[in-house]
Structure formats: structure tokens, C-alpha cells
């Protein structure tokens, strides 16, 4: 055999055998050795109808540096790990998104897709197990559904009283000094309907119209939250809830097309005013039995859940944008106090100016 023939035969063998072998050796033998300390895990994302997450359970040791390579294989997905504050954002199909973190907290965590991807989008969840090698049996069970035995969340809670027009917390604040508010206890366990009724029955509120009483209720609800919490709630709602409940809270998200029972319409005052924060909190954490509502107890922290509940009330009591740019100026002179409160909307248009004066 001459030299040329030998050369091309070697080339042919290299191309058909050597090349494939070296590609797979590089990918599966060489590359894993270059990761250093980090524990590298490939996580494949497919729509639930095509298999969902693969693997569905990831086990690491406490203290491990974990590098997840999230590989989208069909449509855009999201990736977030509940209670760890990890949210990678959209996973573009065919691309590899990488997230690295130190698993410094033992326990079970839920990772999940937070971009609507499929009629069964909410089933796209997996479990990250962080085992403490010192106490391998003590893998904490995260909250179970059965933990939410508190309020009765499954019976209908249609309101007896509900606002016809959107109330305004800003107007309500101006009225607050004029009315002697009843002692209400923990607002979170009260429904707006019940609070409306309690104020309505006050003698000092006799001169107020129903609308004004609703403004007062809205004000009370606004005092129970903070702008930061509303912002957190809004962001979590946009990431996790719009799929079914819709951007405007009307229960008309893309997921609603696949549900027999339509998702709750948060803009429906009659429904909203009959429930309490505690009920909504429990529904979010446990999920709605028999409806399409998934459980979020293993994903949101308690504080995050309360933020979402606070945000839900803005569908009844006014858009959070009205509260944007809220400025309060206080002047004090000779024991007299003046407070100027200015609110504006997103477009920097002033929506309300309220001046209150009083003795210090």
C-alpha cells in the first residue's frame, strides 16, 4: 500500500470513528473534569407534555457549590428555585443558561418553570434536596399541604357588601380623622365586607356615603402594607400568577383557556370583598382543591405570600400605580401641623393633592 493510500485511509478512519469518539470523550469525560470544585448538573427543560424537568430530583450536599446548566429543548421556559431567591429568567430554547449558588441551607426546595409553556405548565416542578452530611436523616420536610387547616378556604365567600365604584385609599385617608373607627382586631382575618359593615354601623360615620365608607376601608387596607411589599407582590404576581389570572387580574390569562372552572377574577368586587387576607394566603399556599390552582407553599416564603395577598387587594382597592410617586410633606409651626400629600400616576400626572391641618 502506498503512502498516499495509507494517509487517506487514516483520514477516513479519523473522520468516521476518531472524530465521533473524541467529541463524546471531550463532552462526557474531559469536560466534567474541568469543573473544579463546583458540582455541575445538567437540567433539561421540556414542556410538561414532553416530559417536564429532567431530572426531577436533584440531590446535593449542604455546602456544595452547585452549578446548574439549564438546557431548554422546545419552547421558552423559566427557572426559579422557591425560597432561595433564585430566578434565572427566560431559558431560550437551544441555549444553555447557567446558574451557580452555594447550597448553604439544608432542606427540600422546589424548582419550577415560571414562564407559561404548556397547558400543564404548573406541573413543571422539581425538587432540590440539600442534605446535611452531619444529619442526613434530618432532611427537613418543607411545608405540606395539610399545614393549612386554618380558615375554611373552600366554601364560597361572596360578599354581603361590596363597592360599586373603585374606592380610593387617598380619599379615605382624608376621612379617617372624622370617623371613630371600631376596634377591628387583626385586619388579615377580616373581609372588606365585614369591615365596611362595622364602620357603617358607627354613629360617627352616619354622614358618610357608602362610597366614602369604602374609601375608608381602602385606606385601612393600605395602612396594612408598604410600597415595598406591594412592589414585591406585583413582581411575584407578574412572574407566577398572570398565566391564569391575567395581567389585569381578570382571570383571563392564557391558562384560563384550559380550565373548566375559570380562575378567580380579582377585579370582581363581590368575590374579593367577601374574602380575607388569611383566606387568600391559605389558598395560595395550599392551592385550590379541585380547581386548577396549584400550591405555592413550597415555593413562596411566608413573607412573599403576604406580599402577593397585599397586591391582590389593589385589584379591589385601586391600582398600585395610583400610589406611585406618593409624596408627603409635613410642616409644623406654632403647634400647628399641616400635611400635604401628593399622588401621581405613572405618567407623572398629579392625581390628588390632600391637605390636612391640625393641632399637635
Amino acid at each position: 500500500m502506498n503512502k498516499q493510500e495509507l494517509l487517506v485511509r487514516c483520514a477516513a478512519l479519523l473522520i468516521t470513528v476518531g472524530f465521533p469518539v473524541s467529541v463524546f470523550a471531550y463532552q462526557h469525560v474531559y469536560l466534567p473534569g474541568t469543573h473544579g470544585e463546583a458540582k455541575v448538573i445538567d437540567l433539561v427543560a421540556r414542556a410538561p407534555e414532553a416530559g417536564g424537568w429532567s431530572p426531577e430530583i436533584i440531590t446535593v450536599n449542604k455546602g456544595d457549590t452547585v452549578r446548574l446548566r439549564i438546557i431548554g429543548q422546545d419552547v421558552v421556559h423559566g427557572f426559579a428555585i422557591g425560597r432561595l431567591g433564585i430566578d434565572v429568567g427566560p431559558i431560550i430554547p437551544g441555549e444553555v443558561a447557567t446558574v451557580e449558588f452555594v447550597a448553604d441551607q439544608a432542606g427540600r426546595f422546589t424548582y419550577y418553570c415560571n414562564v407559561w409553556c404548556d397547558p400543564y405548565h404548573y406541573r413543571m416542578r422539581g425538587t432540590l434536596e440539600v442534605v446535611d452530611p452531619a444529619a442526613p436523616d434530618a432532611l427537613l420536610m418543607t411545608e405540606e399541604r395539610s399545614d393549612f387547616a386554618g380558615p375554611d378556604i373552600d366554601s364560597p365567600h361572596e360578599a354581603e357588601f361590596y363597592p360599586v365604584n373603585p374606592p380610593s385609599a387617598v380619599r379615605g385617608q382624608a376621612l379617617a380623622d372624622r370617623v371613630e373607627l371600631p376596634s377591628l382586631g387583626n385586619l388579615r382575618s377580616q373581609s372588606p365586607s365585614a369591615v365596611f359593615q362595622a364602620i357603617r354601623e358607627q354613629d360617627s360615620a352616619a354622614s358618610l356615603s357608602d362610597e366614602e365608607v369604602w374609601d375608608l376601608v381602602a385606606y385601612l387596607w393600605s395602612t396594612a402594607t408598604t410600597p415595598e411589599r406591594l412592589a414585591t407582590g406585583e413582581a411575584l404576581y407578574a412572574r407566577n400568577c398572570v398565566g391564569c389570572h391575567g395581567e389585569a387580574g381578570r382571570g383571563d390569562g392564557p391558562g384560563s383557556r384550559h380550565l373548566e372552572e375559570p380562575p378567580t377574577d380579582f377585579t370582581d368586587a363581590r368575590t374579593m370583598a367577601g374574602g380575607s387576607s388569611e383566606i387568600y394566603y391559605a389558598k395560595i399556599r395550599r392551592g385550590g382543591m379541585g380547581t386548577g390552582m396549584p400550591y405555592w407553599g413550597t415555593i413562596f416564603t411566608e413573607e412573599e405570600t403576604w406580599s402577593i395577598v397585599d397586591y391582590l387587594w389593589t385589584f379591589l382597592f385601586g391600582e398600585p400605580t395610583e400610589m406611585e410617586g406618593l409624596a408627603t410633606l409635613e410642616f409644623t409651626k406654632d403647634n400647628r401641623k399641616a400635611q400635604v400629600m401628593i399622588t401621581c400616576d405613572q405618567d407623572k400626572q398629579i392625581t390628588n393633592v390632600i391637605i390636612t391641618t391640625g393641632q399637635e
Binding site: 502506498n2 493510500e5 485511509r9 431548554g72 427566560p90 430554547p93 441555549e95 409553556c117 391558562g255
Partner: protein, 616 residues
């Protein structure tokens, strides 16, 4: 005198149509606010019509998975996750038809998820139609006035002058080198192995997979736009698919060995001679193209099947039976290579007549007998010559040449014509039409149908696809041929023979249709190649630092103009070919011209149909 008058008339009409100022749009610019619903794999509405200067405000609302929208020519883009609407605003200041396409991978048919924005007055379309009609009438009138002399025997006579390329010493030495073909094959084999590997083991996302991008965009466009029109079967010279089988069969790659081939060396049955197997393979591939073109693993399987088939056939039969009788690509490349200006021919038939050894067919110490089962001394047309250059090496008389020649020379050769090739021409024409409607059109129901998951849906689609390919379009063409026969009064030639003869007029047009079709995806999706070359498997590699290169449509607004030019050029060429073919079976010039009219009309209708799909 009359000639000049006609010329002036046409040039004048042409100039008025092309350069006349657009009619001023009456009325105030309107604002169009609409919700653009996106679902796999269509937009609703699929067509948006506005007037030039209007403001367009689109609210993109994805209802199943994340989609984007990108408007060709305007370069604006928005992405909507389900549940989050996205807004897009622009002033429609350019006239014409612009595709708006999904810009976020959303599943297998994502590259074909398009809608159409028509900004009126749609001048490019009307100018294109006017140009096509003028070209038709102009060509017919020109041929009528000029009355080109009928060649005595258009088959054997050189239709034009040849330039012998093998006179270039360096090229000749290269072609005589036994390593010429194997080295090309090794290079493409590397790409082929990579395509099979990435297809089978890479990401299932087509736009990020080497197999899909390099086979169906890069290779396909290169084949259709460059290789076939300019060099005919030159791809067959370097195609890697027959290589392993041939090397096994020959027990070597470069060496020419005298011993028996590693093959049962059966003869291919005479009954199965012809291109019908290839036609069937072509139809099978095209029916499943919505899957083959978009799913990497299927592409990988198809490529693997081809190469395994080629090896098995090499071990059972003599020579290259796979290439000659099975390869569905070979079928239409062979037909279109009739147009190409490159040919391999004997220099002097007289030399062959007196030379009995026939090394070119039987082989010699210098090389193998024609692997393509051709007797080179009888070679008159490119259809089955794979340009492997073996006969150049074996001919002891140095009587084989590679020539440059006028485009389309082989279309006038009568020997070798057949109903099989006629159907190849019709199938290719029909597939270009169907693909343009299914893949490039705005009709979601067609795409749903083409990608149907259910058995009944698939069977129905396949049935309709076959019916259009085998009955509807051939029927319409047959009607044109029958009209041509009736009008011309040609005697002594059967309708079937006329059908076959005239089908070769569809060859330049078919090729131009495929070039036009290929432009549409090469410019829009060519940029995928840059990111895929760095990460062929979609495993997160970055070999050349271009992995993150984003999807970037290049000059999508130029594509319609390229398409019009290509289509009209194909139309004029085809009319000329129809005329020349008509001369072959007509008694006089009057018969030729009368017979030409229905064929030219058919060609014009096809061109306008394509203009309607691409620009209208």
C-alpha cells in the same frame, strides 16, 4: 421597422410601469391598532393591510408559549410571554409586502411561523406582475419576429461554442489525480458525520442544531443557488453519501486495484431502469419535509439511512446504484444539470467509434469503469453523469473533456427524454409551489395540516400532496400541451411525446423557482449558521466565539427584488426553451409559434402565482 416599433413600445411601457411615480395616497394616514394573537405556528390576523404612511400599533399576545414578532424591512421586534402582552409601533412608510415572523424559537415549525404585512399601494408586486407579463409577451413577440433558424439536429449538434476547461494544464492534472474526488469526499464526509452526530445527539431545537442549519439552509441554498445552476452535478463529485460504500466496493480509496470488487456486483435489473424510484423517493421526502426539515433527530436518521443504503447497495450491486437509481436529490439535480453550463463529454465521437477497448466503461489500470453506468461515448446530456472524472483518467486516447457551454444546452437533446423526467420536472415545480404556500405563506391551517400529528391527518395531507403533484399540476400542464397541439396542428407526434418534450421547458423555470424559494430562507435565517458553527450540538460550546450571535435577518427587504429577477429570468429562459423544443417537432415556424402560445401562457401563470405568493 416593425421590430423597432415593438421594441420602443415595450421599453416605453416598461419604463412607465417601473418608474412612474406611485399614485399619491389620498386621505389622512390612519392608525391601525390591533391585537396580534400568536399561537404555534401562525399569527392571527395572518395578513395585515395598511396604506403607506399609516401608523401600526400591534399588541402581541402569545396564547400558548412565548413568541416574538419581527417585521421584515422595518426591523422592529417584540417578544411576548403568555400572559404578558408586548407592544410594537411603527409607521408603515415603505410599500410592498413584508413578512412578520416569530422571533423566538417556539417549536418545530417556528421558522415558518409568518404573517404578511401589505403596505399599499403594493407597487413591487404590480411591477413584478407587469414585468412578468411584458416578458412573456415580449419574448413571444421577439421569437416571432426573429424566427431563429431551426438547427438540423438540435440533439447532437453543439448548441453553442464550447470552452474546453481540461485544456488548462493545472486543472487537467488535478482531475487526473486519483485523489481528486476522495479528498473532496473526505471534506464533505467530515461535515456529514458531524451532521449525523448533531442530528442524533444534539439539541432538538432546530435553529441551534448544526444538522438542520447546515443541511437545510447552508447546503440546500448553496446547492440550489450556486452549484446546480452553475455546475450541474458538481455536488455529486463531492457527495459523501456513496463514499464509504464505494471505497469498500473498491477495496481502497486512492489505489486502483485489479482484484474483484468487494461486492456481489449484481447488475441492476433493466426493468427498474429510469428515474421513477427517484421520483418516488423525492415525493416521500417532500411529504415528510415538515418533519425532516425541522426535527434534528429525523434529519440525522434520514442521512444515516441514506449512507447505510448506499453501503448496502454497493455491496450487492455493481457500481453506484444508489446514486443512479435511489438518491432523491440526484433525481432532480440530474434534471436541473441539463441547464448548467458545465459538461463532461468525449471530444471526438469518431475516435471512440474506432476504439474497441472501451476502458471508460470497463475500467483500466488508471481508473474504474463509469460508476454511473454510463457509456461515455454515447453521453449527450448531463442527467446521469456524476462528474466523478474516472473516464478522464481511463481514456487512453485523451478523448474526454470538461467543457463550459451555453446554459440549457442539454434541454434540446431528444435522446434520453422520458415521462419519468417529465414528472421530476413537474414534481419539483409543484413542490416549490406547495412549499411556498405551506412554509412561507401566512396560513396557519395549512401548517397545522402539514404537521398533523394524527394518522388520519397525515394520510389526508399525504393524499392531497400526492394528488396535486401527480394529477392536478400535470393535468393543467397536459391541458396546456393539448391546447398547444390543437393550436399548432402538429401531426405525427403523440400527445404523450409532446407532454414529455414540453416538460423540459419547465426545467429552467423550476430551477429559478427553487433559487427564489431558497433566497427567502437564506437571507432571513442564514445568521443561524454563525451561532451553530460555534456550538454545533447546542451543548454550550463556543468553538469560534460566535455562539451568542443573535438571529439577524439580512436585508429581508431585498429578497422580493431578487425573487422577481430570478423568476422573470427563469420565465424568459423557459419560453425560449419551449420555442426551441417546439421547433424540434414542428413542420414550420407558424406551427412552432402557435404551439408556443399555450405553453408560454402556462409559464406566465406559474410565474404570476409565485409573485402572488412572494409579493402579493
Amino acid at each position: 421597422m416593425l421590430n423597432k416599433g415593438i421594441l420602443v413600445l415595450f421599453v416605453g411601457l416598461f419604463a412607465v410601469l417601473l418608474f412612474a411615480p406611485p399614485p399619491l395616497h389620498a386621505g389622512q394616514p390612519a392608525e391601525h391598532r390591533l391585537t396580534l394573537e400568536a399561537r404555534r405556528f401562525a399569527f392571527e390576523p395572518g395578513v395585515i393591510q395598511v396604506n403607506q404612511g399609516d401608523r401600526v400599533v400591534l399588541e402581541l399576545e402569545s396564547v400558548d408559549v412565548t413568541h416574538g414578532v419581527y417585521v421584515d424591512g422595518y426591523g422592529v421586534e417584540a417578544v411576548s410571554e403568555p400572559g404578558h402582552k408586548a407592544r410594537l409601533e411603527f409607521v408603515a412608510d415603505r410599500v410592498g409586502k413584508f413578512k412578520y415572523r416569530c422571533s423566538m424559537a417556539c417549536g418545530s415549525l417556528h421558522p415558518f411561523m409568518v404573517g404578511e404585512l401589505v403596505v399599499r399601494p403594493n407597487l413591487p408586486y404590480w411591477q413584478g406582475v407587469a414585468l412578468a407579463l411584458l416578458a412573456t409577451v415580449g419574448s413571444v413577440a421577439y421569437l416571432w419576429k426573429r424566427s431563429l433558424p431551426t438547427p438540423a439536429n438540435p440533439g447532437l449538434q453543439a448548441v453553442g461554442r464550447r470552452i474546453e476547461l481540461t485544456r488548462i494544464p493545472l486543472l487537467k492534472r488535478l482531475l487526473l489525480w486519483r485523489g481528486f474526488q476522495p479528498v473532496l469526499m473526505l471534506i464533505t464526509l467530515f461535515g456529514f458525520v458531524l451532521a449525523v452526530m448533531t442530528g442524533l445527539f444534539g439539541t432538538p431545537v432546530g435553529s441551534k442544531n448544526f444538522a438542520i442549519i447546515f443541511v437545510w439552509i447552508v447546503w440546500w441554498a448553496l446547492l440550489k443557488i450556486v452549484l446546480v445552476p452553475l455546475a450541474g452535478r458538481l455536488w455529486c463529485t463531492m457527495c459523501p453519501i456513496p463514499a464509504p460504500g464505494e471505497w469498500l466496493q473498491r477495496r481502497g480509496i486512492l489505489v486502483k486495484r485489479g482484484d474483484r470488487p468487494l461486492s456481489l456486483a449484481r447488475k441492476w435489473p433493466r426493468k427498474l431502469d429510469g428515474v421513477w424510484l427517484q421520483n418516488a423517493g423525492l415525493l416521500a421526502v417532500t411529504i415528510f419535509s415538515p418533519i425532516i426539515l425541522t426535527v434534528p433527530s429525523v434529519t440525522g436518521m434520514v442521512l444515516l439511512t441514506f449512507i447505510v443504503m448506499a453501503v448496502v447497495l454497493s455491496l450487492v450491486f455493481e457500481r453506484r446504484v444508489f446514486c443512479r437509481y435511489f438518491c432523491p436529490v440526484g433525481g432532480f439535480v440530474g434534471l436541473y444539470s441539463l441547464v448548467s453550463p458545465l459538461e463532461l463529454r468525449v471530444k471526438d465521437a469518431g475516435v471512440c467509434r474506432h476504439h474497441r477497448e472501451k476502458e471508460c466503461y470497463l475500467g483500466s489500470a488508471e481508473g474504474y469503469g463509469c460508476p454511473w453506468l454510463i457509456k461515455p461515448w454515447r453521453l449527450q446530456r448531463n442527467a446521469h453523469c456524476g462528474l466523478c472524472t474516472e473516464c478522464l483518467k481511463t481514456c487512453p486516447k485523451d478523448n474526454v473533456a470538461v467543457n463550459l457551454r451555453p446554459f440549457g444546452s442539454d434541454l434540446f437533446v431528444q435522446a434520453g427524454r422520458g415521462l419519468g423526467e417529465a414528472y421530476t420536472a413537474l414534481i419539483m415545480l409543484t413542490c416549490a409551489l406547495l412549499y411556498s404556500a405551506i412554509f412561507l405563506g401566512p396560513w396557519g391551517w395549512l401548517k397545522d395540516w402539514a404537521a398533523a400529528a394524527s394518522i388520519s391527518g397525515r394520510v389526508l395531507y399525504a393524499g392531497a400532496f400526492l394528488a396535486v403533484n401527480l394529477i392536478v399540476v400535470p393535468g393543467l400542464f397536459g391541458l396546456a400541451v393539448a391546447l398547444s397541439k390543437g393550436l399548432s396542428g402538429v401531426r405525427g407526434v403523440s400527445l404523450k411525446q409532446l407532454f414529455i418534450n414540453h416538460s423540459y421547458a419547465l426545467v429552467p423555470m423550476g430551477l429559478s423557482l427553487w433559487v427564489a424559494f431558497s433566497f427567502s430562507f437564506l437571507f432571513v435565517n442564514g445568521s443561524y449558521a454563525l451561532s451553530v458553527i460555534s456550538d454545533p450540538f447546542g451543548w454550550g460550546w463556543d468553538l469560534f466565539g460566535t455562539r451568542a450571535y443573535p438571529w439577524t435577518p439580512y436585508l429581508p427587504q431585498v429578497v422580493p427584488y431578487l425573487q422577481v429577477t430570478t423568476l422573470v429570468a427563469g420565465l424568459v429562459f423557459s419560453i425560449y426553451v419551449a420555442y426551441r423544443i417546439g421547433q424540434g417537432h414542428s413542420a414550420d415556424e407558424g406551427q412552432t409559434m402557435r404551439g408556443l402560445i399555450p405553453i408560454a401562457a402556462f409559464l406566465a401563470v406559474v410565474t404570476v402565482a409565485f409573485l402572488r405568493l412572494y409579493l402579493g
